[in-house]
Subunit: 489 residues, 2 copies
């Protein structure tokens, strides 16, 4: 049974409605879920939509199917009783922002990475990476085999500037789901979002310039700023609604040399924040008024499992102000290194920079992924992956609430691979990192996500791995390690 | 029959000896070649070496096998009578070099590329690119299939920093043939030599700095300089012995901000020049004394079909002064975008820049090529490709000599994909480019290879395609187009 995109939207909408009812206790554990026919009558949906909604809830561990009796709210779904950490704090927006500074995270980040590589790691909570079995390995393999069977000549012929037309067309079609209207030839295929971000920053800045970023933000972005001798202006960012526009405006007024704003508006890494559409439009209008480039990293939007879809800021852009950078790394194939971008008014310059920096990407991976898209597998894959990630996030959140000190805080984002945890006053994630590593547990300390020392009390926790006893035990171990830290208070 | 590397060296040495004899007319067309037993006795070589030498000469069209009678000098090998253009001029070294300048080739290069893309091209003489059938497509395909059969998990797992260990080990082993001692972990796999050059320049310069380059040089290098806001100091370069060291020394003394020298010492593009070993060592010592980085692009060395092998400057480097950049694009697989580099004292910085610029290369192409190396196919492939390129170069050189105006000049390099042709006074390769394009013939005008207007009287001609009637006719057409240009004199 193939669902169209419209169907998909509908069943997620329906499922979300019932998820809320379950979480709020309106439908308590053990309660009978309306039957499929009941759902059809109540909501005027088709049988397939009703069924998909139930399966989606089942996939998240909220419903259980009982033979011949239908669906019931799962015992484990006692949302009322499920322990939950209190929600994350909003950042202090009133306090003045640090002045723009040259970035020096590389030393810190690579010493963390290197110490972790030298250690015996049993449990890796550090990455923002999903387990291999959340990806459609066999379909990608078959697509790659088909390409080698029919298009092997690409191995020995130079690849095309901008990327393979079939992949660019597939990406343009896929972008339509996010209300993004792009022609295939406006898309440049890159080596991951990382290369796209590098090209975007090279296109709009010179060394010494200032770029405003969210605080905290993805350390890879900070490393790129550092490698290009750019200064970062870190703007307080809400774990719920993203970058603070008042703080940005205020800081910009005091900052000469500001050339660009680089944000991750959808499911921000590490916060999981989602900018409301009005804020996206406001940021865009402000960048327009200030004549700043707006660089948008949209690598995670497809992981959103709330109702509807998340629009990139680019979808509101009428003047070519936004450079959109994205990736198939997280959502489809971590081993294929495929990213893409579209550059608005900087498109020509970006094409030149891509060509002079690394030439077009090799063709085979592009053709295989185009084949995967063409066969219509993408929508279904994402649906399944979102459901599994939602379940893993829930399970991890519950374990953290059970085992971390009660003064810890965390908000559960509506998608993505990670959780951002605030530890109680007096804890240090650097100290915890060392102690956990000695136990074979790898962590991503908060300090990696900023050019300041502001986030030593935070941790980013990976939820990409299927939750199991070992993960639970690792979280329990973190709780034990944190207890003595707090005893010093 | 598998030849060891030692054998391979020996048979090329032997073959080169007889090639010279044939070219100089010592062995005229129709003459009988010494028999295999004769060669064994005369030169003290094994039967396999003697046989390979004869086949190598046969592959170049210099010998013909006659059934049961042995090898004879081919009728077409009348080197004495083969028309040849007079050798290229040495550059004027005494004249003062242009001051260092910001590079602005991109507009010129891309307008040439774009006009060519819009035209109906029948014959492409513009690239530095070999025909697909000069590459081991089927073996690469089989290797790729094997990787997908056994290591498909790499499609969905993040790739390793620095590159796949098996490829790095294979490249290190291969480098031994050039007397280059590298550990596998000193090699960083990149997206082509282009990315390697970008990283090398990013590692050792800041915008505004000056880089000394050969004049003429590969336009891709100039585009990288331009995209990084670097200045080029163009140094006169001999078509035979490469960059002029006296001119370099003299220009450097007048140039503040010089940070690096970037050269292609082996089979330079576009000249085909080869720096003598003494010059390589002298350049290295001078860079050491001046505290300049020496960036070496060695993409073409494996195409050398003279005796012995060409050593990269890196093989003389004891202090980590040289950043070596290389590629498998030209010599093995134009569609796989695999390059590599090793960075001496800048190794750590290069690893950081590679990671922050594009993350490690995807694994599959790397594993397939490692498999190809491991199966021992590389040496044999290169031997065959060199022989075919040598023949194609000879045929093209002969056609050019027959059809271009007699005042044209050209030296035949000892390997590689291209010929660098000097047209008679009063000709313009830009004008010729337009006229030829109207006839469906695509050219690479000399102006692309410099940041000055110095090379409008030069053309780079591709010899990567099997020589056929269409190519011959295209060359004849160039001759006809050049005639009226010269009538204006
Ligand atoms: C926000 C964000 N952008 C970009 C990347 C890297 O993208 P890619 O692997 O496609 O280069 C990551 C990976 O962690 C990320 O979290
Ligand atoms: C001297 C030289 N270096 C580098 C390159 C490009 O290398 P790659 O295709 O590996 O990026 C070329 C291609 O023409 C070249 O001639």
């Amino acid at each position: 049974m193939t669902l169209t995109i419209e169907d998909a939207r509908l069943y997620v909408r329906l499922g979300t409605h019932y998820r809320q009812a379950i979480r709020q206790g309106t439908l308590p554990p053990g309660a009978r879920m309306p039957s499929v026919r009941g759902l059809m009558a109540l909501h005027g949906v088709s049988m397939s939509t009703a069924l998909q909604a139930c399966r989606w809830l089942e996939g998240q561990g909220l419903l259980e199917a009982r033979a011949r009796a239908g669906y019931f709210v799962a015992a484990a779904a006692r949302q009322g009783q499920t322990p939950r950490l209190p929600p994350a704090h909003e950042p202090a927006v009133a306090a003045p922002v640090d002045a723009a500074r040259y970035v020096g995270v590389h030393q810190k980040v690579s010493s963390v990475l290197e110490r972790a590589l030298r250690a015996q790691v049993r449990v890796n909570l550090a990455g923002a990476v999903a387990a291999p079995d959340l990806y459609p390995l066999e379909r990608l393999r078959q697509a790659s085999l088909r390409v080698l069977r029919h298009h092997a000549l690409h191995l020995v012929t130079p690849s095309l500037p901008g990327g393979e037309p079939s992949l660019r067309a597939a990406l343009a079609r896929h972008a339509l789901e996010q209300q993004l209207q792009l022609r295939a030839d406006e898309i440049v295929v890159t080596h991951g979002c990382t290369e796209a971000l590098t090209l975007a920053l090279r296109a709009v800045t010179q060394p010494g310039d200032v770029v405003a970023v969210e605080s905290p933000t993805y350390y890879g972005l900070l490393q790129i700023l550092e490698s290009l001798s750019l200064q970062a202006l870190e703007i307080p960012t809400s774990p719920h609604t993203g970058i603070s526009l008042p703080a940005l405006r205020e800081a910009a007024a005091r900052t000469p040399g500001l050339k660009a704003v680089a944000v991750i508006p959808n499911l921000q890494n590490p916060l999981g924040a989602i900018m409301p559409e009005a804020a996206k439009q406001e940021l865009l209008a402000w960048c327009e008024a200030q004549d700043l480039a707006l660089i948008e990293d949209d690598s995670y939007a497809s992981f959103y499992d709330g109702p509807g879809t998340l629009r990139p800021i680019k979808s509101f852009d009428r003047s070519g102000r936004v450079i959109l950078c994205s990736s198939l790394h997280k959502i489809l194939a971590p081993g294929m290194r495929l990213g893409w971008m579209t550059g608005g008014r900087w498109q020509q310059r970006l094409e030149m920079l891509k060509y002079s920096q690394s030439r077009p990407n090799e063709a085979l991976a592009q053709l295989a992924v185009a084949d995967f898209f063409k066969a219509g597998h993408m929508t279904r894959h994402l649906r399944g992956m979102r459901a599994r990630l939602a379940q893993q996030r829930e399970q991890m959140a519950e374990a953290l609430a059970r085992h971390l000190p009660r003064e810890s805080r965390m908000s559960l984002p509506s998608g993505g691979l990670s959780l951002w945890v605030e530890l109680p006053e007096g804890s240090s994630s650097e100290v915890l990192f060392e102690a956990a590593l000695a136990q074979g547990i790898r962590l991503a300390p908060g300090a990696m996500f900023s050019n300041s020392m502001r986030y030593d009390r935070f941790l980013r926790i990976n939820c990409g791995l299927p939750f199991d006893a070992q993960l639970r035990e690792a979280v329990a171990c973190l709780g034990r390690l944190l207890a003595p830290q707090r005893a010093h208070l």
